[in-house]
Amino acid sequence: MFSLSVPLGKFVRRVSRLRGGGSAFPGLVVEKIDPGFMQRTLSTLPHGVAVVSGTNGKTTTTKMVVELLESQGLKVFTNRTGSNFTRGVAAALIGDVDWRGRLDADVAVLELDEAHAVHFVNRVPPRYSLLLNVLRDQLDRFGEIDKTAQLLQHIASKTTGTVVLNREDPRVARIAGTLQGPEVLYFGLDDSLLGTFPSDDELRAGPGSPVPAVPQRPQADVVLRRVGADDADFEYDGVTVTTGMKLRGVYNIFNAAAALVLARSICGSGAATADHGTLLKALSEVAPAFGRGESLTVDGLPLDLVLVKNPSGFRLGLKSFPSGGYATMIAINDNYADGRDMSWLWDVDFDSLRAEGVDQVSGSRAYDMALRLQYDEVQIGSVDTDIPAALADFIRKGKGKPKRVFCTYTAMLAIRRELSKITTVEVVS
């Protein structure tokens, strides 16, 4: 079917790119003039649509699923630009369809923000959904985490084929009991790793308080058994396999188990069954998505950017990237995309930074962060709310040391912008 919306959308996309405009604007135009465009286009894909949602790790997990599927020879459509809402999907589609509106792909794997995913699945029921976790993130936007869990439940209920759930997150695992139609698969953790993923409910169980009883856990399709310095063990089909990992951070590697479940499910339900050798090779080569444990080079030494946006993520970041030998900077902004409420900083323990201190604190809420560190008795080098100035100072004083920057989303964008002046930084459109 030929409609005018596609050429018009492509035209708007070109013009807005020339103007350096936002990546979602052409999607808005197409949505307005042709509301059925997205559903019509995506419904033609032989393997259907897979939605990835949850609080933490959507971008990296989506990237993993895409690369795993591509290793099996599938053509994958995805919303790479990180516009993880409906309009962003429409904008990405406009870029990928031909002038007649046809999409040359076998499957779509889409990262969707929890709230926007609800609107999306009402219009395009996915064949697969992967629900990662419900953590305390930007509660000022969604209200409460129980509300967020309801959003994920809605995504699951609209899924026609298979729902992949995090067995270890009670708010996600609980969704299984509410489902009637779709098949449910789980990704899970070895008991020995459970302690590294405290749920928000257990964040502040003080010393001596009893550990909540572990309920009967269902069988998981893929279990992460062990995480090494640059490899990991996954168990599936009754066998434990060891694979090298470029990804850093135990939470990224847990999400690799999630990606494996989804990719295996998508391949298994179609013509090609997954080839394990190529699947694991692809997994071992996945590089982190931008800002998610990404390593840049400054003065010949690594500078790691670690995105932190909620207490569990920050705690895991500190655990995964020990400070020994590193110069450390923390940049906390409170723009809308970061979350305006600073309460979350008080749910993170910074004891692990006490031995080496923090060299530089920055961002619009630099002094909230400094105050937080003071109460955990962590020494601070300097505090400057101005990110470019603070970063320059940090790099100058940290000469000869590898560096690490923990930063919120908009602080990371500002830091990348500054770093792109002095080193190679991947351009994100």
């Binding site: 509660l139 600073m342 979350w344 008080w346 002094y367």
Partner: protein, 250 residues
């Protein structure tokens, strides 16, 4: 982190027992920050903090000097409801007796007379505070600045859909200069009764409002030891964090 119970090399002026109420269910939005601030400031003032927890079904500890209550999800409030009722007369007695308490958000509501949910059912409170709360569809979210006579400007962050009105038995903590506070009509925030400070403000509240932290500490010490001899508190970062927070948009 292990709660430290020694305050450097100088002799402690005495132990103060701080009890967190239901930290397992009612600890959302950084309520731990309030406990941590009391613990550290007690040390700065030369006292030995002892941090205790009370959860559903626990034995209630003896000799509690300060009570901290936090916010929670609706589901958390349901879990603690019966246990809280079973402790109502004990907590009421402590309140009337002058025990300093900080009650934030969810426990502020449940220390009141009742919470009438939007869908109809009424959750009884324990009636320590003469306040009532009505659930609404509207969520009040954002930075808040409150003018108070007692503690100066109080800064924090609100996130609630229950709207609270004060009865004649309590005074407001202050008047709202930015944000909403107790409800969307009367411009008041929080409640004061005897030595209780109740508020909707997270942030966490105590780190950026050390005047309230020191009020709770001073009151507790005077009740236990007769007089309070303050120590040196380094509030340079707190002052700067307050200045920057006050300038941030709603």
């Amino acid at each position: 982190m292990t709660p430290e119970s020694t305050a450097g090399t100088t002799a402690s002026k005495g132990t103060i027992r701080v009890l967190q109420l239901y930290p397992r269910e009612m600890n959302i939005y950084g309520d731990w920050g309030n406990a941590l601030v009391l613990q550290q400031r007690l040390k700065w003032h030369g006292y030995t903090p002892e941090l205790l927890e009370y959860n559903v079904g626990d034995e209630f500890p003896e000799g509690v000097d300060i009570i901290l209550g936090g916010g929670g999800q609706d589901s958390g409030q349901l879990v603690i409801q019966d246990d809280l009722q079973s402790r109502a007369s004990l907590l009421k007695g402590m309140a009337e007796d002058g025990t300093p308490m900080l009650l934030i958000c969810g426990l502020y509501q449940l220390f009141g007379r009742f919470f009438k949910t939007r869908s109809g059912p009424v959750i009884p409170g324990i009636g320590v505070l003469d306040v009532e709360t009505h659930g609404t569809d509207e969520r009040l979210i954002g930075n808040v600045k409150v003018t108070t006579a007692e503690f100066g400007e109080v800064l924090g962050y609100e996130n609630h859909s229950g709207q609270t009105t004060l009865g004649p038995g309590v005074a407001p903590l202050g008047t709202v200069a930015k944000g909403t506070g107790n409800n969307s009509s009367d411009g008041q925030e929080g409640a004061r009764y005897r030595n209780i400070v109740a508020s909707y403000l997270h942030g966490s509240l105590l780190p950026k409002n050390p005047a309230i932290a020191d009020f709770l500490i001073r009151t507790a010490v005077e009740r236990r030891y007769g007089t309070f001899a303050p120590g040196e508190a380094d509030d340079r970062y707190a002052i700067l964090a307050r200045e920057h927070a006050a300038r941030r948009p709603r």
